[in-house]
Assembly symmetry: C3
Homo-oligomer: 307 residues x 3
């Protein structure tokens, strides 16, 4: 039995297979309308996340499956002192597969060890969020036609943004990918990532606090939210939050085929006048998230691909 | 694409069509068991409302569709600062139609502007609650056989009760409808409604604080709850809340074919000994609410009516 | 129409029928995949209980049915002052059957009186939890092949544990069942149970605080959680909670075919090294809970058993 805890759990072949399946689902959704008939997905959200939870639910329902679960810890047995190991053994009696979001890093790993159904990590603390990363990859591949030979700009909170870390880890596996890491000094990527992933892998990258002047070289611009709760004081937040806002004006320096991604929710880091630009694909990305989750659920349940 | 934000969004022809469809669903429910197979309804409840949410869910499930969503704001992305405009664009990727309840007036209107799926207003602040009004209309029409030539009594909190305002707005569109507005002085209908709707439309109405003596003229008695939270102080609440209670005793003055409606939940404004009276149709009204929502979802999804 | 409020509502014949159906479902699950197509279950949980709620939901979904409901009181109309009687009349318009968990003893009984759909008590205060008891019976019967001629050990909090009281009440109906009641002095079974059920029924039992030395005589060991909230002070809790922990060591004194049950969630009253012992059947018990609820829903909906 397979689980998905980190994007690195997948071999390059498996990743390729998944992305190909995701693209086929995108183009032939009706073909998949009954591949999960009679199957149940449990959504175990110990921390609320409407977007991710509903994406999983839509994915399962699109394939004819059903959903059960909870959307916050207070209505789970965790509040009665039950261990994650016990909870997953119970859930294994109720469902065929589960998606778990947990505030504690490593909780989905513990679950996977005791589960008799596939466990998908739907986000664990600041750690991993592999289905977001798969979604990002599908979006990049669909928009640009490739996952190699890309210059990827990442902008905003690169220190705490787990989607950023996860995407860097995923993209360095492809040849000739370069990064332009755009953030305030205080929110640069963690040093372990710089040292162990980028430097160790001989990956080309720059760190900068200039969005505009780096714009022309980018094939992808990955924007992220600067979360208020990451700052020690209000002053720093206010000073920094607006520094890295993408506006229509700044976009004039971008390539005609540079695509803008964002894991959402956005607050104000992309001004709404950018939304109509054909390069803004963050809502398409949301749709892709459903397709990728469909592909992933199919793969983990070992559902046969219909012809 | 159509949305339903206010009952007035519907032309008289459309309203008639919807009510006719609602009645057909009432009489031939099984005919509609699969008209929404493969469709998904998103219930976006930023404010809890079990009754309304479950009515929508039952409606969709009755037609073979599926449901996903959230039942309170705390488990939505709103708490992360996302705008309603962005939320609905995301939800558009997950579902085919959505029902939104929001504490802020106008939120469903904003949603509709940015949505690529039909939006149904499931209640926005003190403003509109169109599916309740459609339910009321179906109930009146089914019970009395008509929507014109009626004398409608409305009793209780006429100041804050949005279902009352909404029903008045809907009924003045039909010929020869009169109103008897029964409330404490402090809870009379808002003056804009008196001036702009009743007076401007030359509608016959009286305002009174006497329930019993007006009973004999009524074809419909629409009771409403007097909510504690509407009062500035506890004394006023206690003094007024019992003044307009419907009892079996008071019912003796009513016509044999006067029907009693209530949008529910009731607290004590209708005493339980009235429940068995054949004129008490407030639980039938709940059932009608499911039929009307089925009709509305079908219409907005442009589902063909099966023969 | 039938409800299930207490396990004693069922005659011995009905109980036998239900258990036989539960066993058939266990062995031929696919046979039942569509027996509830088009039916809706409402889960009305005025008090959170993930395990029980999800078990009901899995049961209904396994039979092709659909589920709607709420998982805590705050999102129900109860918070607006609605009576249980009114709520159930509303829910009767939305669903074909309902499962209600309520903090107040007797609430499901009140609901049943006003309901036009079958009501299943999913736990009311410290009172009844009949579907847990049915699950326990199915587990005992499946593991040992019988429900008579058994010596049943019950260990832990016997004072407040409603599953214990309910199981004693159920088991005394079978011939030659003996009890070994193992608990700290402070947490012995309530005196009404001792007097009115055990003594009045001439049932053989002992009360003791020794787990190990009583182990060899047991056919069933029913472990329960000692809940912190049952104690008046922290000291008592800490002193007592570990006294009745089942470990691998203590298990050496048990029969080779003594089965260990636990209603879950467990905190630490069974150490995890016991989990792999073939006599530990508490997770199998969870699975049985789904089968029993399927059987019960079928029976109350008067669904025909497929051949």
């Amino acid at each position: 039995m397979r689980h998905l805890i980190s994007p690195q759990d997948l071999s390059m072949e498996e990743l390729d297979e998944l992305l190909t399946l995701g693209q086929d689902i995108m183009n032939n959704q009706s073909k998949y309308a009954h591949v999960c008939d009679g199957k149940k997905l449990a959504t175990l959200f110990y921390e609320p996340s409407t977007r991710t939870r509903l994406s999983f639910e839509a994915a399962m329902i699109n394939m004819g499956g059903q959903v059960l679960g909870f959307s916050e810890a207070s209505s789970s047995s965790a509040s009665k002192g039950e261990s994650v190991a016990d909870t997953i053994r119970v859930i294994s009696c109720y469902a065929d597969i589960c998606a778990m979001r947990h505030p504690k890093e490593g909780a989905p790993t513990v679950a996977a060890m005791h589960s008799s159904i596939p466990v998908i990590n739907a986000g664990d603390g600041g750690h991993n969020h592999p289905t977001q990363t798969l979604t990002d990859l599908l979006t990049i591949k669909t928009q640009t036609g490739r996952l190699d030979n890309l210059t990827i700009g990442m902008c905003g909170d690169l220190k705490f943004g787990r989607t950023v870390h996860s995407l860097i880890n995923a993209m360095v596996r492809f040849p000739n990918v370069k990064f332009v890491l755009i953030s305030p000094e205080e929110l640069r990527i963690p040093s372990y990532l710089r040292r162990e992933v980028l430097d160790a892998g001989n990956i080309e990258y720059i760190e900068t606090d200039k969005l505009e002047e780096n714009m022309p070289k980018l094939d992808i611009l990955y924007m992220t939210r600067v979360q208020r709760e990451r700052f020690f004081n209000e002053e720093d937040y206010i000073r920094l939050k607006d520094s890295f806002i993408l506006t229509k004006d700044k976009l004039q320096y971008a390539k005609k085929d540079m695509y803008i991604l964002h894991p959402l929710p956005r607050v104000n880091e992309i001004s709404t006048d950018v939304d109509d630009d054909p390069r803004a694909v963050y809502f398409k990305q949301v749709q892709n998230g459903v397709y990728m989750r469909m592909a992933l659920i199919m793969k983990l349940l070992e559902v046969e691909i219909p012809c």
